[in-house]
């Protein structure tokens, strides 16, 4: 690696100046508060309305912008990005040590961990919301929430934060930022400055959504359906804005990852040799680049609908247009969530099986075709609003997309076939993920049939289906990734006994909870309602018990992973004898991953020769 020149513009200011500054997170919060209040007051003052209310929809919208700008600048981008962009001296110096995880950084590994931690925060908040929902559903009458709208806003917060800050973020923003530069043999991501900014949008987005009910309950769920949203409390505007900033973060991640994979590959790392997880990130990032701007624009329109107000998605316009526009993004979103999981299966299985990856090309083709077809299936979410002429093509494409998805199963099972599979925690989790996702996928094919869909639409059967795909596919794979890469992240190894306890715990609790959702749905349990017929009470009660067990199981695994990260037993640098480039670095990797950029001479998945490493 060539070293950078040593001097910028000399300002005469001492380099130690930054250490006198307030802690960046505190400063970010303070600046956010100041930005929020100042902008709110300015807009309220300029408000042409006769009352000049201090808090109105327009002022609160602009105040939020002021708050997010204040937060982002306070966290360190003022000195490190904005001032240098205008030619002022760069005064920001990256900290070494734990403090760097709480401020702006350009180190892709620090950014990856920041993304993972933010996403974990979202997981805990949204998981708590899920527990509250299950608490309410333990009885068939209103007993926990005083009004149904509070139940619905809890459902909305759960879904929104889970989808936009966990499912979309953890494996792409977190694992992607950490691993992809190392996987392609680079010391940095393509746009590390941008990436350092985008990660701080995630906590801003999570907090915006989590506190949105303070402005008034919104009852639309994670979809923000119109015209319901137009009749909801003002909190819906913070749903739009919170999701907007979360999506902006994912969009920057997408541009960064694509540019990293395309332009930062080590010499010899041809497309044929690109790691499967990098292929997955590439496919997902293209999906993000295409569909995120679409939904961001939709949310801007819905926001204007509320605050101007415009009639766009209400009675004057067409309420169904919003549904179409939401699901145009909404279904690709499912694949944005799942494709990294499919790629991870193909990444881990050959390592654990000590067997060459079976039909690698078909795995790549599968990922790419899932990406392409995912934009052609959105209207299956809207079958009850469609005519036969439009239902049938969407039904066809929905069933077709199971074919390239099946390629991931084919590659994974083909690799496992007659292999010497090590049945350790990551590989068990991968197999659990495959099992769960298979059920999610098969019930998806079932729901793609219009006649079945009409009967089961908006029942718990659908809830069971998508939880099997999202939790079963993505969350289980995320845990697999965490156990697999723990030695890389921390240089420490978990204990198989304690890890497998947590893994079997969540697998059993998950299936005991969500398999019953199918039965509940078939018995007539509807979504979006806190009260239900009395004959469903007993089953809902015991489903809630299993749901709590699942929640505690996730918590156990999270705490255990954090414990191992800090205090686990030290381990070799490449305990799995993996051949991909990230494992050729030290564990945990130094700030500069590769002292010398490696030259790749062959693919990474040939294990027919034993356990040797390359490059």
């Amino acid at each position: 690696m060539s070293s950078i020149p040593q001097t910028g513009v000399d300002t005469g200011r001492p380099l130690t100046r930054r250490y006198k500054r307030m802690a960046p997170v505190l400063r970010g919060l303070l600046w956010a508060l100041i930005g929020y209040m100042v902008v709110d007051m300015i807009v309220a003052f300029l408000d042409p309305g006769p009352t000049h209310s201090l808090f109105n929809l327009v002022s609160l919208t602009f105040a939020w912008v002021g708050g997010v700008v204040g937060w982002t600048l306070g966290i360190g981008t003022w000195e490190s990005v904005v001032r240098p962009a205008f030619g002022y001296p760069m005064k920001w110096k990256e900290t070494v040590g734990w403090r760097r995880y709480f401020e702006y950084s350009t180190n892709h590994k620090v950014i990856g961990i920041q993304y993972m931690v933010s996403s974990l925060g979202g997981f805990i908040i949204a998981g708590t919301a899920a527990m509250l929902m299950r608490l309410q559903l333990m009885d068939d009458r209103m007993w926990f929430f005083p009004y149904s709208k509070y139940y619905l806003v809890t459902v909305g917060i759960h879904g929104t934060i889970m989808m936009f800050s966990v499912a979309t973020v953890f494996m792409v923003g977190g694992l992607g930022n950490y691993l992809i530069p190392m996987m392609v043999g680079s010391n940095t991501s393509a746009f590390s400055r941008l990436s350092g900014v985008s990660v701080w949008f995630v906590p801003a987005g999570i907090l915006t959504v989590a506190f949105s009910p303070l402005l008034g309950a919104w009852t639309t769920g994670w979809r923000g359906y119109e015209p319901l949203a137009s009749q909801d409390g003002s909190g819906i505007i913070y749903y739009y804005l919170g999701v907007f900033i979360l999506l902006m973060s994912s969009l920057i991640v997408a541009a960064n990852l694509v540019a990293t994979i395309v332009f930062r590959r080590a010499p010899g790392l041809t497309w044929n040799r690109l790691p499967m997880y990098a292929w997955g990130m590439l496919a997902v990032s293209f999906l993000n680049l295409i569909w995120i701007p679409e939904i961001m624009m939709t949310f801007v329109m819905a926001l204007l609908d509320k605050i101007v107000p415009l009639p766009m998605f209400q009675s004057t316009g067409s309420p169904l247009v919003y549904l179409q526009m939401f699901w145009l993004f909404g279904h690709p979103e499912v694949y944005i969530v799942v494709v990294p999981a499919l790629a991870l299966w193909m990444e881990i299985i050959p390592v654990m099986g000590r067997k060459t990856l079976f039909a690698r090309q078909w795995g790549v083709i599968g990922l790419v075709f899932v990406m392409l077809l995912s934009g052609m299936v959105w209207a299956h979410h809207l079958f009850p609003t469609q005519q036969n002429a439009t239902i049938l093509p969407f039904s066809f494409f929905t069933e077709m997309i199971s074919i390239p998805t099946g390629f991931a199963f084919m590659v994974s099972i083909g690799t496992m076939w007659k292999s010497k599979m090590r049945l350790n925690t990551p590989s068990i989790l991968i197999m659990m993920s495959m099992f769960n996702f298979l059920i999610g996928g098969l019930t998806g094919v079932f729901l793609a049939d219009p006649a079945v869909n009409m009967q089961l639409h908006d029942t718990f059967f659908v809830v069971g289906h998508f939880h099997y795909t999202i939790i079963g596919g993505m969350v289980f794979s995320s845990f697999a990734a965490m156990y697999y890469y723990l030695p890389k992240f921390s240089g420490r190894m978990y204990n198989e006994k304690w890890a497998q306890l947590g893994v079997y715990w969540i697998f059993l609790a998950f299936n005991a909870t969500f398999f019953q959702f199918f039965i509940l749905g078939l018995r007539g349990m509807n979504r979006w309602v806190p009260v239900y017929p009395a004959y469903l009470r007993a089953q809902n009660f015991e489903v809630s018990i299993f749901a709590f067990l699942l929640g505690f199981g996730f918590l156990y695994n999270i705490i255990y992973i954090i414990y191992v990260w800090r205090r686990g037993e030290k381990v070799d640098e490449n305990p799995w004898q993996s051949k991909t480039l990230e494992w050729t670095t030290s564990s945990p990797p130094a700030d500069i991953s590769f002292e010398e950029i490696p030259t790749v001479t062959e693919g990474f998945y040939d294990y027919s020769d034993g356990v040797s490493t390359e490059s």
Partner: protein, 199 residues
Amino acid sequence: MSTNIEPNFENPTERVLYPMQYELDKEEQMRLRGGLTLWLISMSIPMVLLYELRYVISGKYVAPNANWLLGLLGLVAMVIAGLLTSAAVRSAKRHNQRAILIQTGWAFWFALAAMVLVGWQVCDRTINPISHFGEMFFVCQGTGAFYILTTIIAVLALRGRVKRLAGSIKNYWGASATNAFVWYVCVFWALLYLLIYWL
């Protein structure tokens, strides 16, 4: 593989450099061009959405009733801003920093004028927002104005760097990128202009 723009992790107390203060090799230029192209393609998607908006929502033809002359003046101002940033790129190739400052200064004023002209009819209350034309008009004008605002920030940032870094500038990618973005917004606004005022 060039890595000369990375922060210096080995010694984090050393200064890191600004954009424009290091030499760009061919690979770095490709990375920057590729990244910008990806970003602009991605940012075009809202435009496609806006372009279809009126007919998707109303399901029928909706006659425009905005003042086409104001819109045209805004478009002309934006094109002049684009011509000026193109001139700044040519000046950059000759390392004529004084000319860059003058040209970007004028580009700023023309882009600002474009934004005011684009935003004028949003504020003068001549168009009823509770109508199919009005709902489309406000969204498109607002988006157009936001994109123009970002060009203004980009032009000001370029100007600031040229003014303050002066002799230490080693590449003019910032000028090329700003120019590309200004022209991108020109095309964006030209298409929206046709949609809003004529089609």
